[in-house]
Amino acid sequence: MLLAEITDTGLAALTYGIGALGPGIGIGYLVGQSVQAMARQPEAAGMVRTTMFLGIAFVEALALIGFVVFFLGQA
């Protein structure tokens, strides 16, 4: 009885899954450090928040390129 089989779609999904590990850790670390910065110096919170969003956009782009690779690798 065939329980599992390696197909194109399966490999593409696995690719995206592994590719989302890095950005997950990256965004978590980035937001944690920015929360710490905002707690240390509340009057700089606006600038820290803007830079945080900028950094999140850069890191999230890598995860989303992986999402696009999933659609390319599927059929």
């Binding site: 600038m47 803007t50 969003f53 900028l54 390129i65």
Partner: protein
């Protein structure tokens, strides 16, 4: 084409429309109009409204002029002053138009009845990324001259000469190839993923409505759908903001005279 599910006599579009809306006007010509093109037109009209409404020159703004002025002030303070400083204020009209066009294209994802972001088709982010690429390169060439611009962008200050053969190709790829590509993919993939997420939970909720005892699980996708609609409103605004902020940062890095 799978026929769409229905609930209370409302019909969802078929699932294949996630990637392929049919053309319903001017078919077989390059000017075919489908639902996504109608969303473009609506976003263009809404963006022009902001510029037109702000044209009254009352000294104490009220009503529509107040709204237009506060929108432009948001772009000026939140985007331009953060990245370019006061010398970037001459870029304010272009960045305001870009921000509001992308925001109105994105926000149609959550408006009932339309529920299709125009930026979920790669054509619009591709065009915007190429436009931004031309803008920051031409701004840099006007500011530094062609050879000076290449030197300014490819050779970072304080690098020893021996490392230049490694640094220059990396900087070339990073400045001229990766920047527009990442702008395009960030905007497109965020909106496409959000659209697919909303479609998945909406279809699941609609399908559970008509089952006999599976309807016990109906509140779960319903609450997930409500949460994701709120999340997508945030993502629409955030992606427009990040696109415009990165455009301002690239223009600033191309025209700055720091070293």
């Amino acid at each position: 084409m799978i026929p769409g599910p229905g609930i209370l006599a409302l019909k969802f579009p078929p699932l294949s429309h996630i990637v392929d809306w049919p053309v319903f006007l001017f078919e077989d010509t390059p000017f075919g109009i489908n639902k996504v093109v109608l969303v473009y037109f609506a976003a263009i009209i809404l963006t022009m409204l902001i510029f037109v409404l702000g044209n009254q020159r009352k000294l104490v703004p009220t009503g529509a002029q107040n709204f237009a002025e506060s929108s432009v002030t948001f772009v000026e303070n939140g985007i331009i002053m953060q990245s370019m400083g006061p010398r970037g204020l001459k870029w304010a009209p272009m960045l305001t138009a870009m921000f509001f066009f992308i925001f109105f294209c994105n926000i149609f994802e959550v408006i009932p009845g339309v529920q299709m972001p125009a930026t979920a088709r790669i054509a619009l982010p591709l065009f915007l990324a190429i436009f931004v690429w031309f803008v920051f390169n031409i701004a840099g060439i006007i500011e530094h001259g062609p050879l000076g611009y290449l030197k300014h962008s490819l050779i970072p200050p304080g690098v020893p000469i021996g490392l230049l053969p490694i640094i220059v190709p990396i900087e070339f790829v990073s400045n001229f190839l990766v920047r527009p590509f990442s702008l395009m993919v960030r905007l497109f993939a965020n909106l496409l993923a959000g659209h697919i997420l909303l479609v998945t939970f909406a279809v699941l909720t609609a399908a559970l409505w008509t089952q006999k005892w599976y309807a016990l699980f109906l509140p779960l996708p319903l609450f997930a759908l409500i949460f994701f609609v709120a999340f997508e409103i945030l993502v629409s605004f955030l992606q427009a903001y990040v696109f415009t902020l990165l455009t301002a940062v690239y223009i600033d890095s191309a025209t700055s005279h720091e070293h």
